[in-house]
Symmetry: C2
Subunit: 214 residues, 2 copies
């Protein structure tokens, strides 16, 4: 029973690690679509969301089977319930990537973000991909020490979000209202993406150490 | 065992209904703070979020106790897991109300939204409160027929969100970039609030009927 439980939980964590790959890849491609106004890449991100949703539904169903068959208690129970929350966070990360892709598609063939702030989004995209990879590693290794880089990256994302917001709010902003709104929403999507990744990682760390991260 | 399970699940649903009250009240007050630039009301919404977070943590802990002690299967298991998701949605609704309150606070003593679009936010606030009440009724009565009004209200909210977005994006928008960004973010907070309420209600309906709503 115990052995079966561990194997099923490991399989669940493996699926969550796959989801980290999907979410990171979606945000990486969405960023590419955004910066190059590439409609095909944007459409690809939007289309592949159904794969993410399908994988999420399937992992959730696996978690329910574990709960029903193994009736875990204490830490084992919390591990399965945490996995359910991880899946919800990762599905939302996938959805946020499609939101970025939709803005690229709406402005195509123009680039949605002015050259002046493109560098911010390039950096946000890189951080989003790295956060997904680091979250995957935390999920697989259950190693709380891997969390440090995640918090550095999350803070870097927040700082970029604040800087972009300040640029848009600056009276010297010269790119008009439509672009200001696009930039604000895009920046928020990246920041939320990072928040969800960190929520997943912190949940793993909490289980490993019993210490709440934030 | 069966009787104890029902009683514990009912208590959980009662707590979720209370959370609907808290979330609805938070968004109602946040709207009042927004339209009247009332700093005290805005601060109240932000302060009371800790009550919502506390109630959520306590309900989640109750759900884990039910899973551990009763080891429910099939529909009973899905009911408890659904409750966990409801709690997450309702916590997010409370957080979105604080986001609205924070924008009011940031612009105080000015009113964050121009008089021209204040009516939209008044209506969005009323719909948000009504959605919270209807969701509470669905949670308590487990009655799928109560869902019709929820979908009407959700569509009305989406339509208001689209109309506001069109106004902000219109070349004739005369209130500047900062206000455009505020209006866009505020509108999105209300729309997301409605989405989460409908997610809770649809989950109840799915359990009662086996039919997915969207």
């Amino acid at each position: 029973m115990r052995h079966a439980f561990r194997a099923q939980l490991d399989a669940l964590h493996g699926g969550i690690a796959d989801l980290c790959d999907h979410a990171g890849s979606a945000m990486g491609h969405a960023t590419e679509a955004l910066l190059q106004a590439d409609l095909q890449i944007a459409e690809g991100v939007i289309d592949r969301y159904s794969d993410i949703a399908y994988l999420c539904a399937s992992l959730e169903s696996d978690a329910l089977v574990i709960l029903a068959r193994q009736a875990p208690v204490a830490g084992d129970l919390r591990a399965v319930v945490s996995s359910l929350k991880d899946v919800a966070d990762l599905q939302r990360m996938g959805a946020l990537a499609t939101h970025v892709a939709r803005i690229s598609r709406r402005r195509h063939p123009a680039v949605a973000v002015p050259a002046e702030v493109a560098g911010y989004f390039g950096e946000m995209g890189r951080i989003a991909v790295r956060l997904s990879e680091d979250t995957k590693n935390v999920v697989l290794a259950r190693d709380p020490d891997q969390a440090a880089q995640l918090n550095v990256d999350d803070e870097a994302m927040d700082e970029l979000h604040r800087e972009l917001f300040a640029q848009v709010m600056n009276p010297g902003w010269s790119h008009g209202t439509v672009t200001a709104v696009d930039v604000t929403l895009l920046s928020r999507y990246y920041e939320r993406f990072a928040d969800h990744a960190v929520d997943v990682a912190n949940r793993v760390i909490y289980q490993a150490t019993g210490k709440q991260q934030r």
